[in-house]
């Protein structure tokens, strides 16, 4: 119809859609889902790294890790705010996260077992996130695009920091080198899965591409990530755990071995190693904090009786 055509024309002209602009319900719904999922990923993502804050091996690393996790909370805040411009409240989104209706990135359902996992997350997980997010800085929805610009700047700092942790380990004692290789072994495949199913199995992609919510396909982004990361591993003497990995001169990129999508689906279904622990931790924080949030509301109401009366 005419409205949809006009909307698509604005998109095609690279105009930004703003909160009060008319938009198709599907566009709004897709964005709410995607931004919410993204926000939840930042929040749940605080847990695997937070797990090592109290055991960081030096004060310098402790401070850097704390700052990183704090940044993630900040990203969560921007993103919830972006989603709120589409008429869904933070509380509503939180409830959806806790009762399992909303998803978050599957990668955070793997445990951080050793300190090297903190390096691997920064290097690989934040690295993959950046690949996903850089195109989002040009997303057709204005508030989301602007949030992503801030997010991307910090993420690339985190990525460098994670790589630096891995480099230090790779150049350290034999125990440390092993720890680094082991972390790479465990995080490599889940990181590749972060880009989502292969294009031929991806359901949401086409419409999102058309609306310029997405600008590259899953497989394109995954390829970029592999091509950027493999040389980084080589540079610090670590081995990517994929025996099929080979340089393809013709396409100017790496060919990689098959991804175990059954594992991906399993984790998505809530049956990964840490899914239940993650939600339980968030649920506990939410429940334990209920009296605090309630008190803050009650206090605000006491202090602003005039403002409230006027509402």
């Amino acid at each position: 119809d005419a409205f949809l055509a006009a909307f698509q024309a604005r998109i095609d002209a690279e105009e930004k859609i703003e909160p009060n602009d008319p938009m198709p319900e599907g566009y709004r719904r897709t964005l709410v889902r995607q931004i919410g999922q993204h926000a939840h990923s930042e929040i749940v993502g605080m847990l695997p790294e937070g797990n090592w804050v109290t055991r960081a091996p030096s004060l310098r690393r402790k401070v850097a890790l704390l700052a990183k996790v704090q940044d993630e909370g900040g990203h969560g805040l921007y993103l919830y705010a972006a989603a709120e411009t589409l008429g869904v409240s933070r509380e509503e989104m939180t409830e959806q996260l806790l009762d399992g209706r909303a998803k978050y990135s599957s990668i955070f359902n793997y445990p951080t077992q050793t300190w090297a996992d903190i390096g691997a997350i920064g290097w690989l997980v934040d690295g993959a996130a950046i690949m996903n997010q850089i195109p989002l800085c040009r997303c057709s929805y204005g508030p989301y695009a602007r949030a992503m610009i801030r997010v991307c700047k910090e993420e690339s700092f985190h990525q460098r920091q994670g790589y630096e942790i891995m480099m230090t380990l790779a150049q350290g004692t034999e125990d440390q080198r092993e720890m680094a290789q082991d972390a790479l072994n465990r995080w490599w495949w889940p990181s590749l899965m972060m880009f989502g199913p292969s294009d031929k199995d991806s359901v949401n992609s086409d419409q999102s591409m058309k609306w310029k919510i997405k600008r590259f396909t899953n497989d394109e982004l995954r390829q970029k990530f592999i091509d950027a990361t493999v040389p980084q591993a080589e540079k610090i003497g670590l081995t990517v755990p994929d025996p099929d990995l080979t340089w393809n001169e013709a396409k100017g990129g790496y060919d990689h071995g098959p991804i175990d999508w059954s594992e991906f689906k399993r984790v998505l279904k809530g049956e990964g190693p840490m899914n239940r622990d993650r939600i339980r931790a968030r649920q506990k924080a939410w429940d334990d904090g209920a009296w605090v949030r309630e008190a803050a509301r009650a206090h605000a109401a006491k202090r602003q009786p005039a403002a409230l009366a006027a509402e």
């Binding site: 790294e49 804050v53 091996p57 924080a285 904090g289």
Partner: protein, 239 residues
Amino acid sequence: MFERLLEIADDHLILGHRLSELTGHAPTLEEELALPNIALDLIGQARALYEHAGIVEGKGRSEDDLAYLRPERAYRHCLLVERPNQDFAHVVLRQLYFSAFMAPYWHAAQESEDDTVAGIAGKAVKEARYHIRHAGEWVIRLGDGTEESAARMAEAVAELTRYTPELFEPDDTPGLPDPAEMRGEWDATIAHVFHEAKLELPEVPYPQTGGRAGRHGEVLGHLLAELQYMQRAYPGATW
């Protein structure tokens, strides 16, 4: 000088560590940002103090040697900072009590003839004032919030106030302020916040002390088991 620097450094490390335990478990998203922020300030101050203490001591001990490689009885922080994160009321009150002491302490330390101390103090005094504001606002909100929050706040006051006199134990280290002299300003800060929070500051007939002599509660050992784990398991490694 070394001993006193270590005491203050330990205060900041242990309190920063306690706050860092809340990562991912705070009651609001805003506090997921604010608490690590305070923890970062505190651990940052601890690092500067350990580094300076190591130089003053002159035995080549690094900040990590001092922070990680001492037995429990050699930690010299006051007992207040090791108290556990019982609930959010305890967390914000512990912070208010500590920062209301540190702000005037750092203010005075700006005048130290030791340039490093004066430099640390110049930055830290601003941070401590922000910590007072942040924690104080929460104490007020919770003290004058719901019935439950008021009861929890009162319970935190009943529990933690006995640990505050230790902050003011006199010390005559040259180049550092005498903690005893901060009492007046601390009283004024707390009185102001408690008035707004509808809380009463109890008398403390039996102060809990001993931290400066390394006499800590059982909670510390478990904190140290985590804190020291990597340094102990991989001695001599660089991270």
